[in-house]
């Protein structure tokens, strides 16, 4: 046996030791969803607009909701045009006074491309920013869609840790062997029974698919599972857990088929069915959904195959099989798109969406009693 073989043998033994340690340390993943427990509809029905915002020039688009005890925040991206270097993440804080009246603070810039680039170690070039959502698994944290080169198909998802209103640490999620490229976020996270959260994401290069990303205790990617379709490009999965093991994901078809697609899991998200078309006629745009009282699902959708000029609220009483329109949101000039629905700590439901074809935002708050009354 030569020296080379001895070296390789030593490396093999070292590898066995490392593997043993890694297997011993790994705690695995819990694959049981946290079962949604919406509050019962008890108060008087409430439905009110709490935030209206528009820009004279440029775009303000893709609002996300950050839920926190001191009042929710809405974050969105804003700039001269989509995917431009001057696009920054903006935010507004919403509070409710003692009389129950909602008040919106002043909208303000929150994260610039340069500031986010400084948060990486070593510092990186960030050319523009896109869809950003709350990282519910860590305090003061966001997942931001960042682009360093090319367009959205070359985007990455960055785990951004905030402190005193600025990014102090950022790292790209390890999601793709293509230099972590082509993964984006849109929809809120999904909670598991062990208190961890999974991230719905989507891969936009090539065949295109939705993904469910799982994390370890340190917030590093530990697994990802796909939602695929046949002849479609299913993106922006909006996942609604139905019970501990079952969930439904509503997917936008990037191929302009004029339908919303559905993928289902019966094993806690380990595997997902091939995305199938629903009866919901819908433009090439995402939807938002939320479990509400009575085992029903509330969805914000455009509900029209051709355009996204109006946003509707719909209810499903059969786990997403069929839908009943319950409300049409006030129509404004241009498209109403990119809705997000989140449950607030007091049980109310906050809906935010962009309007005026990406030139403004609106947020409304409703309670379970209002939903039940429709």
């Amino acid at each position: 046996m030569g020296a080379v073989h001895l070296v390789v043998l030593a490396l093999t033994l070292l590898s066995v030791g490392l593997s043993g340690y890694a297997i011993w340390r790994d705690s695995g993943l819990e694959w049981s969803f946290a079962v949604p427990a919406p509050p019962a509809p008890e108060d008087a029905p409430r439905f009110e607009t709490v935030f209206e915002y528009s820009v004279d020039q440029g775009i303000a688009h893709s609002p996300a909701i950050v839920v926190q005890d001191e009042g929710p925040e809405i974050v969105w991206f804003q700039g001269s045009s989509e995917a431009r270097p001057d696009v920054a993440i903006h935010r507004v804080g919403l509070t409710r006074d003692d009389a129950g009246q909602w008040r919106a603070g002043p909208p303000e810039p929150y994260i610039t491309s340069h500031a986010l680039g400084d948060g990486f170690v070593p510092r990186q070039l960030v050319v523009t920013l896109g869809n950003t959502i709350e990282n519910e698994g860590a305090e003061q944290s966001l997942y931001a869609t960042v682009v360093s080169v090319g367009g959205w198909a070359m985007a990455s998802i960055a785990d951004v840790r905030m402190q005193d209103g600025r990014p102090v640490r950022a790292r790209k999620l390890s999601l793709s062997p293509f230099l972590n490229r082509s993964f984006l976020v849109k929809s809120p996270m999904v909670e598991y029974a062990d208190g961890s959260f999974a991230l719905p994401a989507y891969f936009e290069m090539g065949s295109t698919y939705g993904a469910l990303v799982r994390f370890d205790a340190e917030g590093r990617v530990r697994d990802q599972r796909r939602m695929t379709g046949q002849g479609i490009k299913p993106i922006q999965p909006m996942i609604v857990p139905l019970d501990a093991s079952r969930a439904v994901a509503f997917l936008r078809d990037f191929n302009d088929s004029g339908r919303i697609y559905v993928s289902r899991t019966e094993d806690g998200g380990r595997s997902w069915s091939k995305a199938g078309a629903t009866d919901i006629a819908h433009p090439n745009a995402p939807v938002a959904a939320l479990p509400v009282a009575g085992g029903r699902i509330l969805m914000a959708m455009n509900g029209s195959g051709g355009d996204a000029n109006q946003l509707h609220l719909a209810l499903s009483e059969d786990e997403g099989e069929s839908w009943r329109m319950i409300h049409t949101l006030e129509k404004t000039r241009g498209e109403a798109r990119y809705p997000m629905l989140r449950r607030l700590p007091d049980g109310d439901i906050l809906l935010a969406y962009s309007q005026g074809t990406k030139t403004g935002l609106r947020a409304v708050v409703m309670n379970e009693a209002w939903v039940a009354a429709q």
Partner: protein, 183 residues
């Protein structure tokens, strides 16, 4: 530590590019020294410039394999004994890696990249590379695989082992090497 690893990887790649370009005009060891000095200075003095920030954004994670190949190439020019990869081995690697990338793009129904997150599949993969090294007498690939596994466990870089032992730049590198050998 992840910053140190990324900066180190970037420095080695810059050194390698400068070494390769300088090789057209000056012979080793001067080209190697030139590359090393420029790579170190670039990382130490120019790391906050747009080109360097852009390179990090574009090419990170650098992993182990890419810097290791660069160092190996420069070591060979310095006269150190380096066992070349066989043509068949390169061809098999290129085909396998393209299949791997295709699976990551969703072109295949399996997701091979996902295996790189979990300790047991990684253990099997590293052992397979070590077995290949034992059979062929090649210590370089087992070293990269085990070093990648060690860094993967530390959590300083990517959470996927494949990011340490592969890099998309390996496709053009392997393709060019094969073309130069075959034609």
């Amino acid at each position: 530590m992840s910053g140190v690893l990324a900066a180190g990887g970037l420095g080695v790649l810059v050194a390698w590019v400068v070494f390769a370009l300088a090789g057209w005009f000056v012979a080793a060891p001067l080209s190697v020294w030139l590359g090393g000095v420029v790579g170190a200075l670039a990382v130490l003095l120019l790391r906050d410039t747009v080109p360097m920030r852009g390179l990090v954004a574009l090419l990170a994670p650098f992993g182990v394999m890419l810097p290791a190949l660069a160092l190996r190439h420069m070591a060979a020019r310095l006269g150190l004994p380096v066992m070349p990869f066989g043509t068949v081995d390169l061809l098999v690697f290129l085909v396998a890696y393209i299949v791997f990338l295709a699976s990551a793009m969703g072109a295949l129904p399996v997701d091979i990249y996902r295996l790189g997150y979990a300790p047991f599949p990684v253990a099997v993969l590293v052992l397979a590379v070590c077995a290949y090294g034992l059979i062929t007498g090649n210590w370089f690939l087992p070293l990269v695989a085990v070093l990648g596994q060690a860094l993967w466990i530390t959590g300083w870089g990517s959470s996927n082992w494949f990011d340490y032992v592969t890099h998309v730049l390996l496709v053009p590198m392997a393709a060019v090497t094969l073309v130069l050998r075959l034609f």
